[in-house]
Assembly symmetry: C4
């Protein structure tokens, strides 16, 4: 069958080796278009997800004000200021090997335009949140990964949330095959459907993730793993699995009620250790 559950062993087996002679160039530069003045935190959270997941460098395309907020939590990031506008104008920084767009920005014509510019670049692209807009086609020169939660998938497909939840696997797979994109349909048992119909179910995660901001971290993680994995499919599956694993580790000691998205800053180093060191 082309439906499987992601296993810890498969994540471990496909997780990139970090050669002793590696340098930041080895792990690529990631670009994330995120954050507006009334949703600055989503950009911070996407940046946290990215820098903790292995990318060599991170460029955040955002506003001046959001950049200051990010820099005080994630000093590892650099910035493309006036980022959304500049990407609309075709300005993509050099050496980007993976990109994401959407956290903390609302659907608009410029978001649509910027998404298209990125799709035409051939860079593997994660499309999330405000960038998930209905469109006739998702033709792109590189892999496109859509990460809708059921509400966003409803906006994308016109189906009701109830219909979607009743038929998550089939609908995600259908959309993926029809549009030649990867669909990460989020929620308990996140479904990952690839363009060829191969579909995966994620077993990790818990209600600690049922909070604003968890998805923004995931976007950063997928982008970062796209930058470090040879195979984009492994990157997507591994990011989704490890994201949920962080919540599982949290709940060993703390209340799920209390988990918040910025806790990933401390959880990712532990979660990835468990993957890499077989603990």
């Amino acid at each position: 069958s082309d439906l499987s559950i992601i296993s810890k062993e498969s994540v471990r087996a496909t997780f990139p080796n970090r050669e002793v002679t590696s340098h930041k160039g080895t792990f690529g530069t990631s670009l994330i278009v995120a954050g507006t003045d009334h949703m600055p935190g989503s950009a911070v959270l996407a940046a946290i997800g990215a820098i903790r997941s292995g990318t060599g460098k991170l460029v955040m395309a955002t506003t001046d004000r959001v950049a200051s907020v990010i820099a005080s939590t994630v000093p590892e990031a650099t910035f493309l200021l006036n980022g959304l506008e500049r990407i609309c104008q075709g300005h993509i920084p050099e050496k980007i090997v993976a990109a994401g767009i959407g956290p903390g920005i609302e659907a608009s014509e410029s978001v649509k335009k910027a998404t298209e510019v990125l799709m035409e670049s051939g860079i593997p692209l994660v499309v999330d949140a405000g960038a998930i807009q209905k469109r006739n086609n998702w033709k792109a020169k590189g892999p496109v990964i859509l990460t809708p939660h059921p509400g966003e998938f409803s906006r994308l497909t016109g189906l009701s949330i109830e219909e979607i939840q009743a038929n998550r696997i089939e609908l995600a797979r259908h959309y993926a095959m029809h549009h030649h994109v990867t669909v990460v349909l989020k929620g308990k048992y996140t479904v990952i459907a690839f363009p060829d119909g191969e579909t995966y179910i994620n077993p990790t995660g818990n209600s600690g993730l049922a909070k604003g901001g968890s998805g923004d971290v995931l976007t950063g993680m997928i982008v970062s793993m796209l930058a470090t994995h040879d195979n984009y499919r492994d990157a997507v599956k591994n990011a989704v699995y490890v994201h949920g694993l962080c919540a599982n580790i949290w709940s060993e000691k703390y209340s799920e009620t209390s988990m918040v998205a910025s806790d990933f800053h401390r959880l990712l180093p532990l979660a990835l250790q468990r993957i890499e060191r077989n603990k």
Copy 2:
């Protein structure tokens, strides 16, 4: 009798279950109107209290400058900029299931107006600090919870602090019944009086809470628990109990002299774990 002491068992019994299939919508969106340029930290603290207590999403209605400060500590929050003014004009963001107003803002006509707009919305409302102003009636379409410390209760009732402290239970109950509101009269042995006269005493907490900012965290916690509890009475009692429990946990290791309100960021995940896991 209609006077009881809140017990750990009652908190545990009424604490909301987090279904495995939950998502951020399950736990509702909270709105808190808080913070001005000379009291930005109160808004940060209310936000900390809220995001750590279970709400699915948090919107902070505040000024531009305060929003930047909040975002660097609480990236999970989103913002209604120019928040106080916009709420005065009747603009309440969509899907709000619980609200609070007052931390870090001074009494003024616009605070009064914004409080009224919220009272008319039917959303359960916590009224704290600068929003605690004397008024003829507190008629509202939903539950109203006032959280005065004795000084604020004095301002509200015209009674002296001495009179209040000598007669905390009766006065809180009388005000609650007369005005059809819930009164949380804060201080050692916080009194919670409901509109029907049912009254509770909180046994938790210590002098570590006798600091500017503790009350702001409590406001955030009550709002967040209103968003996640079916019964607003349980939300209020549970928030007050857990707030004090955090201080008790603190003093297992650290000096009460040194506790500060931002310590709730680390204490709430432990305190709620003790409630939920019966430790």
Copy 3:
């Protein structure tokens, strides 16, 4: 003799009890005038020292920009914006029971003026850093505590640093008696001389404190302890002792080379616990 070494037992014996029925009013409101745009961090550090040392509330008198920086680290603080100017104009916020001036501000006419306004208020006053300026008299309505390091004491007295270091006890005592102030002559074996000539030597501290910013934290701690102690002498001695104790605790686990002033944020809760719980 009127020369003694501060002992842990004396600190413990004079440390204020925190009554179970206390509230933030019990522990007083502190005011600290600190920080300029090129030295914002000193204000942050003074605020950390203050909020962790027991004061009920803290008002920082500073600039807009510095206020935003403080608020993101110390959300417990509130602000008197344009603080230095407003105090020069005689505006002292209500209910202040202890004050400090100097960290992160340079000597100037307005600092001198603000210092005088505070001296005339009768509020116990810590004078540090930029506020330590030579003057004919230090006549004040309340206790004045000067906290010079040897360089600042040289500026104050016209003596060379060598002369000062060769004769720390006598010179501190002489200045204190002559000017009716308390002199805290900092450095290894800090000397505390009171106006009547009683003099103390502090045994705690190590080279981890030999860093820019340590003194700013001490200023905040003394102000905060002035707000909570009945006797200003105990406040000064206890603050100096506990300040050094924090460095001693640090060096149980970490390198003194690496200690920085913001580490007091985590050390004070442990240090005060040891004092209060006889550990």
Copy 4:
């Protein structure tokens, strides 16, 4: 031979003693020119490296906006605002005993000019990142330490990265001897070549450092150690060794994939403890 591997024992033997009677003046004031609005974090990271490595005081020469970002993470720093411009104009703050230039700034005429001003001052100078520009000579009144990664060394020498990596030791040594500078050619097995040809290989570090920002921390560490070591050679070797040791300590518990440059804030106190206490 004049090629050796740095050993833990040699670092320990040459690490400065911190006299009990030391004060912040004992450990010198460091100056770092770093950060622009689109790369603020590099300045934060250089500041973290510096304050955790022993310097008595730290002045960051930077922009207004970057200063606010630094201050919220590193309150120990003070600022020379409009720093790059003011240094170009010859304004070097008083008492600077060690300096660095480059993190988070791009190559430009003013960077070149500021570098020259510093070179003429006789202050030991670390030249990194944007300040590493090709030039006919590096004539300076004090030691100059260049810290290129292979890409920067390629820009400096005109050689390809492949040529450089194939011949790291000889090329670093040749450049150092020819230009009378110290070359720290970074990467796995960092090469340190002194002007007289003496050359060292660093054995510490791992792929956790293969991330944007690690080099910025190193710059801060070298500057800080220059301020505290009598011999600039020991400062450079010790900083490089300890920088890598931090990554080794990290990987005892956490994934190298997840390490980020701001983790040095917590790692340096442990790493220096191991050096100083022989653990």
